[in-house]
């Protein structure tokens, strides 16, 4: 199927052929031909954001919640540079995006033309790949290749920079058929001999643990199904990173909760003491490993990952299996079934007994209050009141994000959208816009901090324009709480610039946007207020006024090992000076 058309028309045609029916964008001089082509069709729905960073995060939310590629369209110069944070975010969290940027006409490139910037140069380090389209002949191939590169292997963002003359030029369009990339062909099937070896190691384990991550979500819903099956077959305990929440249901009896810096006592101790760690689509991030030389010292490690550079990057493993999670787990489940191995039931029982003693520490416990709303309590109530609905959660970055991860429980993949690797404040609101576009009927909630949410607050306008009933649930502690907590732990309680001075009245702000504003500061009225939010057919900003000085525990201080956690109970002990727990070397770390 090849047709003559302009470059701008090719862009729209390629989006159609790729099934990309939703596009987040913002117009400008260098993309006007594409906007004209959008005007003249009705397959692709364009969502006009209020800032290009918002377009990138919205596309991320759309992608993560739907499993599709997120697409955005921005103009040259400032339009392109405004996407840099979102692209970097997508790169760190392995989110598939295609970002189309306008560029000045080819003959003006390099002349410091109006709104010219070196987009491919600037985005080279924050994309999986990028293209400057120099001729109309290359455009159809590049458009389809970009979708292929963004979504295959380890997903990531791809930029296509299209000069304006190429948008106007006429050429021959051809569809995505037979797009075979000559160099980029990631390995999806795992090496069977290695998988067999892994099954043998698992069968012999006395203290095993599954450590799963965002790669399970990237791999698709089948991967989560297979993971559940494997856990059921083996009876092994399982923990997950922040990015992998929902791949295994939080209600499952093998679930240990999240691991890492703010993970549970049982998850981190199981990681520290295990004799076999099975890492599945997780990248041994420093929030997980803590002090590297004390990380799970006595275990053999198996690592399943589609990106060979993830294996042995931070932690040396005994068996690396390169491949897609779903493909590898399928083989693993099959091999486990057919070999029906004799596990050491006695040892596993002993291991679970040990885990139960760790669980008894109840590391997520906090001191309840009748006077103020405890942020943990607010999340728990939000969870209880929304769990039976079709709910999607996004977050901003900070304490509220960690409390959401700890106290909101996910049963399914793709329900949890958060900025993990880059930790981008301002992610949650535009991401919620993207999620709601993908799931118009669902309940979409951005669990927010009052500081973060202001970073992309303008996207409320977008929500209103498209009648997206997103709920912004702000845990308002009047502080950049996470910063305040670190200042308490590391800098003698000198709260330098971390108080959120001159906050807006969020209720009035909501009303100014045409949304509903709700404020609640009374624990007794919290449930009703949350129900009012849920029942509103409109977008809502919920100003949940919470305890200001609450710290997020448990916490593994920087530079410490998994078995050196700070628990809330310890921090309450009068004898322990909390500022003394982190040593000088730990202070150097982030």
């Amino acid at each position: 199927m090849s047709k003559q058309m302009t470059g701008a028309e090719m862009v729209v045609e390629a989006l159609k052929d790729q099934g990309a029916d939703t596009l987040f964008g913002y117009p400008g001089g260098a993309v006007l031909p594409i906007y004209d082509a959008i005007f003249q069709q009705n397959f692709v729905k364009h969502v006009l954001v209020r800032h290009e960073q918002g377009a990138a995060h919205a596309a991320e939310g759309y992608a993560r919640s739907s499993g599709k590629v997120g697409v955005l369209l921005v103009t040259s110069g400032p339009g392109a540079t405004n996407t840099v944070t979102g692209l970097t975010d997508a790169l760190m969290d392995s989110i598939p995006l295609v970002c189309i940027t306008g560029q000045v006409p080819t003959h003006l490139i390099g002349s410091d033309a109006f709104q010219e910037c070196d987009t491919v140069g600037i985005t080279r380090h924050c994309t999986k790949h990028n293209y400057l389209v120099r001729s109309i002949e290359d455009l159809p191939r590049i458009l389809h290749e970009a979708f292929y590169v963004a979504s295959s292997g380890r997903p990531g963002p791809v930029v296509i920079d299209i000069p304006k003359d190429v948008q106007f030029a006429t050429g021959t369009y051809h569809g995505p058929k037979n797009i075979q990339h000559k160099t980029y062909q990631p390995q999806v099937k795992g090496d069977l001999a290695k998988i067999r070896h892994a099954v043998e190691m698992m069968a012999a384990a006395k203290k095993p643990v599954f450590y799963t991550g965002g790669g399970v979500i990237n791999s698709g819903p089948e991967a989560s199904e297979l993971l559940r099956e494997l856990v059921k077959l083996t009876g092994f305990p399982i923990t997950s990173t922040l990015m992998g929440l929902g791949a295994y249901p939080a209600s499952g009896d093998k679930w240990l909760g999240m691991l890492g810096m703010h993970g549970t006592y049982e998850a981190n101790h199981a990681m520290h003491d295990c004799d076999l760690m099975i890492a599945v689509g997780a990248r041994f991030d420093d929030r997980i490993t803590g002090r590297l030389d004390a990380f799970s010292p006595g275990s053999k490690k198996i690592h399943i990952d589609i990106d060979p550079s993830s294996i042995n990057k931070n932690v040396k493993v005994d068996l690396g299996i390169i491949g897609d999670v779903a493909h590898v787990l399928e083989d693993m489940v099959r091999l486990w079934r057919t070999s029906a191995p004799q596990v050491d039931a006695g040892a596993l029982k002993q291991w679970w007994k040990q885990i139960d003693t760790w669980r008894e520490r109840k590391s997520l416990a906090y001191r309840p209050s009748k006077e103020t709303i405890k942020p943990q309590h607010a999340i728990q109530r939000l969870y209880e009141l929304t769990k039976d609905r079709d709910t999607y959660i996004t977050t901003e970055v900070g304490q509220h994000q960690m409390w959401a991860a700890q106290h909101y429980h996910f049963e399914k993949p793709n329900r949890w959208m958060t900025s993990g690797g880059l930790g981008t404040m301002g992610y949650g609101l535009p991401a919620a816009v993207g999620v709601q576009m993908a799931h118009p009927q669902a309940l979409v909630i951005d669990i927010a901090g009052e500081a973060s949410v202001l970073m992309n607050m303008q996207e409320m306008s977008t929500a209103l324009q498209y009648r997206l009933p997103v709920k912004i649930f702000i845990l308002n502690n009047e502080y950049m709480g996470m910063v305040r907590q670190w200042q308490e732990l590391l800098h003698g309680g000198r709260y330098s610039e971390s108080y959120s001075e001159a906050l807006p009245d969020f209720v009035k702000l909501a009303e100014a946007y045409g949304a509903v504003g709700i404020r609640c500061s009374d624990p007794d009225k919290l449930d009703d207020a949350i129900l009012e939010m849920i029942d509103s057919p409109k977008a809502v900003i919920f100003d949940c006024v919470v305890e200001k000085a609450e710290n997020c525990f448990p916490m593994i201080p920087s530079g410490k090992a998994h078995n050196e956690m700070i628990l809330a109970e310890l921090s309450d002990d009068a004898g322990v000076e909390i500022g003394s727990i982190i040593d000088e070397r730990g202070k150097l770390l982030v």
Binding site: H125, K182, T183, D293, S309, N312, K313, E564, D583, R585
Partner: protein
Amino acid sequence: MNAPTLNPPPPPPSPYSSALGKSNIEQHTLSVLVDNEPGVLARVVGLFSGRGYNIESLTVAEVAHGEHLSRITIVTSGPPEAIEQIGHQLERLVPVHKVTDLTTHARAIERELAMVKVRGKGDDRVEALRLADAFRARVIDATTESFVFELTGNADKIDQFVELMRPIGLVEVSRTGVAAISRGPEPI
């Protein structure tokens, strides 16, 4: 809960950590076959600077004109774990066809070309010519007070020649960087 430890822990071992013993730093020559498209060199060089890897030498040229293939030969150094990581990181770049570590996976021949300018009179000139002869360097430019020598060899040989020229009037050196290929009938 144990009381907080007072002794700072030893620095964590990371392949990039400078604290890692200098003893296990190795030099490797990587041969990287790439699509000869705009920006590909910037991607490779940017990867090295962005991730803090060393480049001791880098050469690049098109090797198969019809197929638009270039070979980039990089001499890098680091602990073995870092070298392995560099290989994988290079493979992640979309226009990269193949990465071969010539130091570990192939018996490689390495060559570099240098041009060496020497200025001097009398005995120094005689000595320079004598040494050049011993190194099979050719004179490619001469004036009454200077020579330019052309020399090929492995990097050590060139280093040695340059050192010998230093006391007898070395002016400057221009080197191409290392090109490398594997021995025997098979391609890299």
